[in-house]
Structures are given as structure tokens and as C-alpha cells.
């Protein structure tokens, strides 16, 4: 082979025909140049020599709950970590100082900020800071065994608009690394001062470091200063697969879901441009210049007992998919900016709680989120793994909507969810909506959506789940229709179509009081079986709504106009 074929991809021209690590060719699975590139890096790294800080440098170790990326900014088109000493991933000291300074300003008085980080004093005179930030390195070579190639796949337009464009792109990030960070001081600090320094650094880490922190990247397990609200929950469902087929639970799915519901809600309240704007203000958004926004909110997910397993279809032996069980986990919604008043923070907190209650009531998280988890509610169905199931765990039981036999509490919640959305007008003036913007499929508005529900006595008592696979009445069926959508069908155009119906089984909880009057939440075996339908003008849709209108098996409409 000629010499130029042996050249590492990093040293080749970043154009087609040579190095193309940013290109993702879905049909090629693991045969992407990004994997070759990562392998070259993993092989080139001197794994026997863990970078050590000099003895005068103080160090502390922190583990990241999911992926972490420190964009080098070197390869336009590829997001990848900075490569430091002897090929080790590195978090630069300069980035460390930036994060430290931000946290220091929140925690410490101005004179201490000046002492630690330097800057201009009151008279405008420049002072050097005492602290030196030496950056961070992984604490051992374990990160080299993990998949560094991380596919980011924004699907917002595909899901909530008219199946618009969506393409995945490749990013190189570290999976659950433990980093050692080093700080030294030019003057001797007391041990109390060092404690303060590390407290500030911990606070800085709690706000996330590196890129995409609002989607759960670069987060450690605790969030003391910037946590808006935390949710205790657990979930099961199909896990994501990286492009090479390796399975992974990807916590960025929470942000995607909450962001999607935010957009649905505001598309039902105001015009499209305003809804887009609010969604961006809350969750951030990319774009050029003015359009790029750091959102107010971010997420961090910590599931210490998460397990990934494989599900194999008993009827199609080669249908094997990864599934997750998160165990008791915590989802923290974080405030990414610190300049809000306490009233605004509180409003935002109430908004997030309602949004999360909504997501748990009618949707799920991650893949197949529009369907109830078939292994729980329709165990006889064995062809595919469909759906997911999420529940609040003990500390968040009070977030369950306690409903009676008539499910009226659910109607009330949905009314509130819609009405209260308008109260975020301090964020952005809401333009009154004259009529719904055409092309937005899932706008949350009385005229555009119907929620139907019934009480199911236990998990075997789900009826609607069968209607997705069998006729609901006589020969009438919604299977593989525009209403239900379909996926991966070679005989249909398009191959995958997102349906207009969501199905959920929402646990029923009783709220009672203990002897000293404190509320207690008691689980029952019952569920609210809920169908959320965004009707179109098709016969299938009309027929099905007619059928529901006759209140079969206790189904009745809870929200939306008929």
C-alpha cells in the first residue's frame, strides 16, 4: 500500500475520498469512518500512563452520569473532545477557569472572586488571580473501552411537524467517564479556603461542563444550586442502538420529550413563530447569530441501577432488541441561567411540573413513546417490542393525578395544563391564535385533539391495545392506518409513518390521610386507559371516533371538542 494510505485519519484532508469522520451513512452500520477514527485514537493513546498532576496541585475526582464532551472546535463539522497529553482526553484548564469563575460569582463575594480568579478591582486596576486551573483527565484507561462514537439525532421536525427533514450526525464523546481535575494556588491557602475552592468547583460541575449540557451531557450526580425540580421515576422500554448496534440508554430523550410537549402545548395556544420562540427560550436552540439561544432549562438524569438487556421475539427469533430498566432513578430539571427572579423561577417550576405530569399521563419517553408497554399490558403479543412504561416512584407519588371512577380529575388537569400555559407570557408575549397553523399535526388545542379514557381494573384489562393489532369492531380496523401509523414497512410509502394516536395506561393512586392529617399516596391495581387522538379527515379516523362516541367498554371523551 502507498504511504498515504497509512496516514492516520486525523492527518488526512477532511474531504470525501480521504477522512470523513463527520459523515454518517446509516446503511453502513458500524462501517463508518468515525469508528476507524475512534479506534485510531484509542490505539494511539498511551493507556499505561495515566496523566498525573504534579505534587503541588490539588486534585479531586468526579464521575459523570452519562456522556461528556469537550468540543475542541478544531474539526468543523465534528464535535469531539480535546486530546491532551499522550493522547488522553482532556478537559482544558481554560474551560475549567471559565466554569469556575461563573460559579464563583454566584457563591462568593466580589473580593473573593478577585482573589481566586483575578480581574479588575473597583478602581479598574487589573489583578492576577491566585488559582491555576490545570484541567482534567480521566482517572484510568477505562474510557478507551467504551464506544466514543455518539449519534445525535434531532427529530423535532419529523415528529411534530409534517415529518420534516431529520438527519443524524456524529459526535465523539466519552461514556460515563471519571475525571480528575487539578487546581493549584500561587499563594498558600488555608484548608478552609481549599474547601471553598472545591465547593465552588463542585457547583461549577453541577451546572454541567462541556457541550450539550442541557440535554444531560457533562453532568455529575448532584445539583445543589441550579436544580429547579427533581422527579423520582422508573421506566422500561426499548433502548437506543448506536449506529454500530451497541445499545445505550440515552438520557437526552427526556429533554426531547419535554421539548416536544412544550411545542405541542404552545402550538395550541399561539401562532407557530411564537410557539417556536418560546420552545427555544425554554430549551435552547441552534441557529446562526441571534437565532442561537441557550435555553433556560436543562436536564440531568441519574439511574445508578440501570440495566440493559435483550428482548428476543419468541416468534421471530432474529428480532432482538435492547431494552432498559432504569430502576429507581432521578430526573432533575435544571435552571441553566441564574438571572431569573424568584417569582419567575417559581412559575417555571410549576410549568415543568405540569409538563412532566402531562408527559407521564399521556406519553412516555424515548423510542415507541406513543404506545403502552406491550410486555406489561398485552403479553400475548410477541412479534415486536412495542411501547414503554414509566412510573413515578415513591418520592414523586404526589405528582400522580388522583382520579375517581369518572376520570374527571384528568379533564381538569388537561384544562389547567392548557390554560396555565398562557401564564408564561413574561417569557414572550403571546400572540392570540386566530386559527391553528396548518401543517402542525400535534397542536394541543380543543379543536385538534381528543382524549378518551376509561378505568381499567388491572393491567390485563387494556382493551385499546388490541385495537392496534386486531379489528376493534366487526371487520373495522385501525391497524396500519394513517391513524396508527406504521414503522419499517417496505411495502408502504413512506416506510415509516408517525401515527395520530397515543395510547397509555396511567396508574391509579388513592390519596388518603394518615392519623396526623398528612396525605398518603396508595397505589392500586387500576389504571386509566387513555387514548389521545389527533383526528384527520380520513374515514378510518371518523369511523373510529364514531365507535368511541358510542362509549364502548366505558370509554368516554375527557378532553377536546367532538
Amino acid at each position: 500500500m502507498p504511504a498515504d494510505d497509512y496516514v492516520p485519519l486525523m492527518f488526512q484532508a477532511q474531504v470525501e475520498g480521504r477522512s470523513q469522520i463527520q459523515r454518517l451513512i446509516p446503511s453502513q452500520k458500524a462501517d463508518q469512518q468515525a469508528y476507524d477514527w475512534a479506534k485510531q485514537w484509542q490505539k494511539g493513546c498511551d493507556k499505561n500512563n495515566v496523566p498525573q498532576f504534579e505534587s503541588h496541585i490539588q486534585t479531586r475526582k468526579y464521575q459523570f452520569t452519562w456522556r461528556m464532551v469537550t468540543n475542541s472546535g478544531q474539526d468543523a463539522g465534528v464535535i469531539r473532545p480535546v486530546i491532551g497529553e499522550r493522547g488522553w482526553a482532556y478537559f482544558p484548564g481554560s474551560s475549567m477557569k471559565g466554569a469556575f469563575l461563573r460559579a464563583c460569582r454566584q457563591l462568593c463575594p466580589a473580593d473573593e472572586v478577585l482573589l481566586f480568579c483575578g480581574g479588575k478591582d473597583k478602581d479598574g486596576e487589573l489583578h492576577p488571580g491566585m488559582l491555576r486551573f490545570h484541567g482534567g483527565y480521566p482517572n484510568d484507561a477505562e474510557w478507551l473501552d467504551n464506544s466514543l462514537v455518539d449519534v445525535v439525532h434531532p427529530q423535532e421536525d419529523w415528529q411534530s411537524k409534517n415529518q420534516g427533514n431529520h438527519s443524524a450526525f456524529i459526535q465523539i464523546s466519552l461514556h460515563q467517564p471519571t475525571f480528575v481535575f487539578g487546581i493549584s494556588s500561587s499563594k498558600t491557602l488555608t484548608s478552609e479556603q481549599w474547601e471553598l475552592v472545591w465547593k465552588v468547583w463542585r457547583t461549577a460541575l453541577e451546572q454541567g461542563i462541556g457541550s450539550r449540557v442541557s440535554a444531560g451531557y457533562g453532568q455529575i450526580a448532584t445539583h445543589s444550586g441550579n436544580k429547579l425540580v427533581g422527579f423520582s421515576l422508573s421506566g422500561e422500554g426499548p433502548a437506543s442502538k448506536l449506529i454500530d448496534g451497541q445499545e445505550e440508554f440515552r438520557p437526552n430523550l427526556f429533554k426531547a420529550a419535554l421539548r416536544g410537549h412544550t411545542r405541542r402545548l404552545f402550538n395550541g395556544i399561539t401562532d407557530e413563530a411564537t410557539a417556536d420562540r418560546i420552545t427555544k427560550l425554554l430549551w435552547g436552540g441552534i441557529g446562526r447569530g441571534e437565532d442561537a439561544i441557550v435555553g433556560l432549562l436543562g436536564i440531568s438524569f441519574n439511574a445508578p441501577n440501570l440495566e440493559l438487556e435483550e428482548w428476543q421475539s419468541p416468534v421471530h427469533r432474529n428480532n432482538v432488541v435492547p431494552i432498559y430498566e432504569t430502576g429507581d432513578a432521578v430526573l432533575d430539571v435544571l435552571l441553566m441561567k441564574s438571572d431569573l427572579t424568584s417569582e419567575q423561577q417559581d412559575e417555571l417550576k410549576q410549568f415543568i411540573i405540569r409538563l412532566m405530569k402531562f408527559a407521564m399521563l399521556l406519553g412516555g419517553f424515548g423510542k415507541s413513546w406513543r404506545r403502552a408497554y406491550h410486555p406489561h399490558f398485552f403479553p400475548a403479543y410477541k412479534r415486536q417490542l412495542i411501547g414503554c412504561h414509566w412510573e413515578f416512584t415513591k418520592r414523586s407519588y404526589p405528582l400522580y393525578i388522583p382520579f375517581g371512577e369518572d376520570l374527571a380529575a384528568i379533564t381538569k388537569f388537561l384544562d389547567t395544563f392548557h390554560d396555565k400555559g398562557k401564564e408564561l407570557s413574561w417569557l414572550q408575549k403571546l400572540e392570540p391564535q386566530e386559527k391553528l397553523t396548518p401543517g402542525i399535526r400535534e397542536a394541543w388545542h380543543q379543536s385538534n385533539v381528543q382524549v378518551w379514557g376509561r378505568l381499567a381494573r388491572d393491567k390485563k384489562d387494556s382493551l385499546a391495545i388490541r385495537w392496534l393489532h386486531e379489528p376493534y369492531q366487526g371487520a373495522k380496523s385501525i391497524k396500519h392506518s394513517e391513524l396508527t401509523g406504521w414503522s419499517s414497512r417496505n411495502d408502504l410509502q413512506p416506510k415509516t409513518k408517525i401515527g395520530r394516536i397515543w395510547h397509555r395506561l396511567y396508574p391509579r393512586f388513592h390519596r388518603t390521610q394518615n392519623s396526623d392529617g398528612r396525605p398518603i399516596w396508595k397505589p392500586t391495581t387500576q389504571y386509566a386507559e387513555l387514548l389521545t387522538i389527533f383526528p384527520d379527515d380520513s374515514t378510518v379516523s371518523d369511523d373510529f371516533l364514531d365507535f368511541l362516541g358510542r362509549k364502548p367498554y366505558g370509554f368516554k371523551q375527557l378532553w377536546g371538542n367532538q
Binding site: 498515504d4 488526512q12 474531504v15 470525501e16 475520498g17 478544531q74
Partner: protein, 134 residues
């Protein structure tokens, strides 16, 4: 042997003056950093940038810097390959890349000299950029 002026600093100054109104001077920092990855990576950058309409000016800046390198090297008696390449034509790209790594075209010594000169050009570019950038 007499002292020969290659006027690398003047070359860099000319480049900065030529490109300062096209809002691309920030690229000179990237150029300096890219040298760590060698000649091919540096050369390839103008091709990558040329594929996006809005980055055409950046592409021109990288290519002009490469041309400047080739000229300085030529004055010194070393020919650095500089084929005109269509970014859509893979075989042209491959053949140019091959030349840059081919001992018969450019010896390792010559490559080292070329990189040293390129570093000098880019250091000067950065220096002038810091003075002219708006």
C-alpha cells in the same frame, strides 16, 4: 553563500490585507493550529470549505495561504505539489494527497522544511490578524 530574503512576513501581511474585508481573518488561528496535523490536512481544508457557499471566502483564504507556501518553497528550490483539484473528484484528491506523502515527490526533510515555513507564515498571519481584525 549570501543572505536570501524570503519575505515570509511580507507575504503574510499581503494575505491579511487581501482578506481583511472578507471577514475571514479568524481562520489564521485555525491555520496555525492545523499545522500540527501536517501538510495534507492543511491543504485539504480549502476543499472542505469550498463546498459550502457561505464558506467560500474562508476557502479562498486557506488556498491563498497554501499558494503562498508553494511560492516561498519554490523560491527555495523545493516544489510542493499544488494540483488544481475539483472537490467532487475523489481520484484527483487522492492523487494530490498521495503526492504529499510520497518520498519521491517530497522527502521527509523537505516536508519538515515546508512545515517550518508554514508555521512561520501562519505565525505571521496571526500576528497581522491581531492588528487588522475588526
Amino acid at each position: 553563500m549570501t543572505w536570501k530574503l524570503y519575505e515570509i512576513d511580507r507575504t503574510a501581511h499581503d494575505l491579511v490585507l487581501e482578506f481583511r474585508d472578507r471577514e475571514v481573518l479568524g481562520e489564521s488561528h485555525k491555520m496555525r493550529a492545523t499545522i500540527a496535523y501536517g501538510l495534507e490536512r492543511f491543504w485539504g481544508e480549502h476543499l472542505r470549505l469550498s463546498q459550502k457557499e457561505k464558506e467560500r471566502d474562508k476557502s479562498d483564504f486557506w488556498k491563498a495561504t497554501w499558494d503562498a507556501l508553494c511560492k516561498v518553497m519554490k523560491d527555495a528550490g523545493i516544489t510542493v505539489p499544488n494540483d488544481s483539484v475539483n472537490p467532487r473528484n475523489t481520484s484527483e484528491i487522492k492523487s494530490m494527497a498521495a503526492k504529499l506523502w510520497d518520498e519521491r515527490v517530497l522527502t521527509i526533510e523537505q516536508r519538515k522544511v515546508a512545515l517550518a515555513v508554514l508555521i512561520e507564515i501562519c505565525d505571521s498571519l496571526v500576528w497581522w490578524t491581531q492588528r487588522y481584525k475588526k
